[in-house]
């Protein structure tokens, strides 16, 4: 304890040079831990978003693409699946429920998702059913025709639009908001705002499939029909409900009665006979597709982690070299310890403690710094990548890294300690001037 205290005071007297190298250790720790934490959080939020879904069904193609665009709204679908297939899947005995998904429109950059009332019944995020901050789900337009004008917003959307219930909104066709693509002829009324889920749903706008379809009646060229009219007529009657059954869907999420039947259900869905104009279907196990996605990303994240580790090693070496250089100026100090009865071993320990203290403090600062960085970037990560980050104690993986860093710091501390040991043996009481 005595030597620890002395080592601390000695280090504090050289706080500027040691502080600088400690900052470099701290920064490298931040790089390392931030990459790790974002990776863990990304994986968690991706799998949370699909926690209740057993199969994601879409037109045959790349499973990861289907998952990315239909669940995470990253990228755009190239093919749709026929709406008739939804009915055929629903009728399979193994299938408990289905959620149809139709994408393509947006509200100020937030994706609009056409779906059915089943979405609110069956969707689970992190195992939790959906709940509302205010309002309620839109109604089934087949029962209540005014539901064609109803819209539900995710928590992020509502926050960013400062939306209140009963506010009116015009959606945009596609993702480019220009005058001719705004569905201004079909304003929606906000009926519900969801509680935050930490999934891409927070950034989504939900309307019924029928409403999605009614938006596009007469939109031949991807432009508003009234864009060609001399006089737009907002009082135009709504089309009849029978016309509004969609012909195509982006994807269907499927829940099964029993997870054990997932492979036979997949086989059944994939062997449905395709109609003449469409591709055969594909059913994807979200977990498997996510694993494939992580395989692709792994190269990049490993590269980042290796780089972070290398930077950490370099900055630990920086601490060591500063301490080594400093030792030649501290030969007098070492001679004083010797004169007071300290053996070379005690001096070894004092110097080792000092380096270890500096490194551990820097590592601790790095752990805190990582949390600060994550808090600062929370909004950005959620908005741009749909990653819900979390704060708190380091995860198991981060603990391993911190442990390894501490071991590295301990090993690095041995170098100046060993040098001090040699100096104290050779100098004795008479350091060179």
């Amino acid at each position: 304890m005595f030597w620890l205290n002395l080592a601390w005071k000695s280090a504090w007297s050289r706080k500027y040079s040691l502080g600088l190298v400690a900052v470099s250790v701290c920064l490298s720790v931040i790089v390392l831990l931030a990459v790790q934490q974002i990776r863990t959080d990304a994986k968690r939020s991706f799998s949370n978003a699909l926690s209740g879904v057993d199969l994601v069904v879409g037109p045959r193609g790349s499973p990861t693409d289907l998952l990315l665009y239909s669940v995470f709204q990253l990228g755009t679908p190239t093919q749709n699946m026929p709406y008739a297939d939804l009915q055929r899947i629903k009728e399979m005995p193994a299938v408990a429920w289905t959620i149809p998904i139709q994408l393509g429109d947006s509200l100020d950059g937030f994706p609009v998702m056409g779906t059915s009332v089943d979405f609110f019944k069956h969707y689970r995020s992190s195992g939790q059913a959906l709940t509302f901050q205010s309002g309620e789900a839109f109604q089934d337009p087949q029962i209540q025709p005014t539901a064609l004008m109803q819209v539900v917003m995710g928590s992020e959307v509502a926050k960013s639009k400062k939306a209140k219930l009963k506010d009116n909104f015009a959606l945009t066709h596609g993702y480019q908001a220009i005058e001719e693509t705004i569905h201004s002829d079909h304003p929606f009324q906000l009926v519900g705002i969801l509680k935050p889920t930490g999934t891409p749903l927070d950034r989504s706008v939900l309307i019924s499939l029928e409403a999605f379809e009614s938006l596009h009646v007469g939109w031949g060229l991807g432009l508003r029909p009234s864009a060609f009219d001399a006089k737009p007529d907002p009082q135009k009657d709504l089309p009849g409900l029978a016309e509004l059954t969609p012909s195509e869907l982006t994807a269907v999420w499927v829940g099964l009665h029993s997870r054990a039947t997932v492979f036979s259900a997949r086989k059944a869905i994939e062997s449905l006979k395709p109609s003449a104009s469409s591709l055969p279907l594909m059913a994807v196990l979200p977990g498997v597709a996510l694993d494939e996605l992580w395989q692709i990303v792994r190269v990049v994240e490993n590269a980042l982690i290796v780089m972070g580790a290398l930077v950490a090693v370099c900055s630990l070496l920086g601490v060591v070299s500063v301490l080594l250089v400093g030792l030649s100026a501290r030969r007098k100090e070492l001679a004083i310890y010797r004169s007071l009865g300290a053996g070379p071993y005690a001096i070894f320990m004092a110097i080792a403690w000092e380096s270890f203290l500096v490194c551990s403090l820097a590592i601790a600062a790095g752990v805190l710094g990582t949390q600060l960085l994550i808090v600062t970037c929370q909004e950005f990560l959620l908005q741009n990548f749909g990653i819900q980050t979390h704060n708190g104690w380091p995860e198991l993986e981060a603990c391993y890294s911190i442990g390894l860093l501490l071991v590295g710091a301990l090993l690095a501390s041995m170098l100046p300690a060993w040098r001090a040991y040699r100096i104290s043996l050779s100098d004795g009481l008479h350091p060179p001037n």
Binding site: K332, A335, L340, G341, A342
Partner: protein
């Protein structure tokens, strides 16, 4: 019968890897409580002799007994411990740890060795009281005691070093040119304070110096034997 503070016989000292010896001392001894001045020009091996007495180095031949203990029979770590428990060392300058306060510097021996702590406590009631007494005797103002050691003048630093060396009542003070960094007036003042405070504790003092003018203050004077050759200086 009292134990001799110092008893050197037929000492021959040489640096490792050097064939020729640096000096040979047939006999040198000092009774407990007395003071000894060791004089000689630079390079005559005075500092090496101090290293022998402090147990940092061992002689090539001969017996070196300090406080009745033959140092060559102790292991390196036992000699370190012996030095810490029974000796007080004072250098020419840079005696203090600059990042500690004056008081923290003085109490270092009592923190490092329980025996030094106990002696101060037995004789003076507590370490704190011993420090009070030493500071008083060595003319260290109370206002200095909380100050960082690096802010002190050289004279003050030497007196703090003397207080530290005397804390815990070691049997022997070993001082290496303790007055060389001081100006003429301070030299004698410091020496008088050191010697009187040491004799009040019955502590022996061995001082090496090239400055023969202070030799008269000591009970005994020993002159280093002349160098045999010049090349051993290298």
């Amino acid at each position: 019968m009292t134990i001799a503070a110092l008893e050197l016989r037929n000492i021959e000292f040489a640096w490792p890897n050097q064939a020729k010896s640096l000096f040979v001392i047939p006999e040198l001894s000092l009774q407990q409580g007395q003071t000894l001045f060791i004089g000689g020009p630079s390079g005559s091996g005075k500092s090496s002799l101090l290293s022998l007495i402090a147990g940092i180095q061992l002689p090539r031949h001969g017996s070196c007994q300090v406080l009745g203990i033959s140092l060559s029979q102790l292991s390196a770590s036992e000699r370190d411990r012996f030095r810490g428990e029974h000796l007080g060392l004072i250098f020419q300058q840079f005696n203090l740890l600059p990042f500690l306060t004056v008081e923290e510097n003085i109490e270092l021996p009592s923190k490092l060795f329980a025996s030094r702590f106990q002696k101060s406590t037995q004789i003076f009631g507590s370490v704190q009281k011993h420090i009070d007494m030493l500071c008083n005797a060595l003319h260290l103002r109370p206002s200095l005691r909380g100050r960082q050691a690096r802010l002190l003048s050289v004279g003050e630093q030497q007196r703090v070093a003397a207080a530290r060396a005397l804390l815990g009542c070691p049997a022997l003070i070993v001082a290496d040119e303790p007055t060389s960094a001081l100006d003429e007036d301070n030299k004698l003042d410091f020496l008088n304070l050191l010697l009187s405070t040491a004799s009040a504790q019955n502590t022996s003092v061995v001082t090496v110096s090239h400055d023969m003018r202070i030799a008269s203050k000591f009970d005994h004077v020993f002159q280093m034997p002349p160098m045999e050759t010049k090349d051993v200086l290298a």
